[in-house]
Symmetry: C2
Subunit: 214 residues, 2 copies
């Protein structure tokens, strides 16, 4: 069975949980708590499995893979149906660009390790850290909202969720967590609500993970 090293609140882990659920793949969660014990990702045991000391990590038999975006692509190649990258090469390119706007431009700036570094050594106060979060999250979501506001399908790329929603929904969760006003991104928020009604997304939600809380 597939095994996913995951942290309940990690956006990157959440992305992969959604993809696994959308594809109907059975998997086992191995929690790695990024806060407890000074960060379990730094433990010798976990570093032996993943020298990058990050989550998620997917284990598929003898094969280990880190980096959520690479994992999403791997799941798509290994289990093509239902597809999370539907359409022709241009549609696929648009889906990937949507994902990367979050994966490369937003999420890295809200990462736990980055927020910690801002606190110390940089000494950035909590209010300014919150402002930092809002700035980058708003900038990224605004760009996507502007790009897709005029589209009318149930989901970003048609009548079913794709890789785009695997990445969008955890970002909306993070935005709400950091007190960003998500409602102003009307189109994205609508899509998020539609996803929230689907079991694949419900079972991937941070609150129902075995390591939730703390």
């Amino acid at each position: 069975m597939l095994k996913l090293y995951s942290y309940w609140r990690s956006s990157a882990s959440y992305r992969v949980r959604i993809a696994l659920n959308l594809k109907g793949l059975p998997y086992e969660i191995e929690p790695v708590h990024l806060v407890r014990d000074g960060g379990q990702q730094h433990s010798a045991a976990y570093r032996a499995i993943n020298p990058q000391s990050r989550v998620p990590l997917l284990v598929d038999g003898p094969f280990r893979l880190n980096q959520s975006q690479a994992i999403l692509e791997y799941l798509e190649a290994r289990h093509p149906q239902p597809s999370l990258l539907p359409g022709d090469m241009r549609q696929q390119a648009r889906i990937r660009a949507f994902c990367m706007t979050i994966t490369a431009d937003v999420q890295p700036l809200q990462n736990t390790s980055v927020l910690k570094y801002l606190e110390a050594p940089l000494g950035v106060a909590e209010a300014a850290r919150t402002e930092w979060l809002r700035h980058w999250i708003t900038r990224g979501l605004e760009a996507l909202e502007q790009e897709y506001a005029a589209t009318a399908a149930a989901f970003v790329f048609g009548d079913a969720p794709t890789m785009a929603e695997c990445v969008l929904v955890p970002q909306l969760y993070a935005a709400a967590r950091f007190d960003c006003d998500v409602a102003r991104f009307r189109r994205l928020a609508d899509i998020g609500e539609r996803c929230a009604a689907l079991p694949a997304f419900q079972r991937a939600h941070p609150d129902v993970q075995p390591d939730a809380g703390g």
Copy 2:
């Protein structure tokens, strides 16, 4: 002909220039200077083409695509030979994970807009900003060095450059620019030197771009 909106020093633009050259595709560079005129990416003219106000942007006939990683994948799908994602699905996954360690974990933290935000409003002094850069670049390159130190091929994934080198070489360039000690990442630095001997990489180098300098 393909057109690439590019900034000479942007790592993300540099990645795409390398890929275009490795695939032997003719293209035209349209410079977008991220510093001059308060940042030409914010001009109304450029925003009309790319609301994200970022580079690179690839234009392929009527099709416009942003996000360097999505562009690399699109070029691979549209012009499969020579392949920048060779091998079976696991090898492809490893190549993508290598790329994402830089694209999602390192480069976003050295982005011009992030360095500017650290300066103001956060008021982080220059020495501390340099330390920030070194911290994230070192962390990312160290992880990759550790993962690939024991491999012996000429390039990261065999005897020819792949998507991995498209992303690695601009990161090594940025590391040197920000005074990181690249030599300690022996395996990565060796690969970087091997790439530097190839015309595809030489012609993609920031210093020979039409907008170089300033």
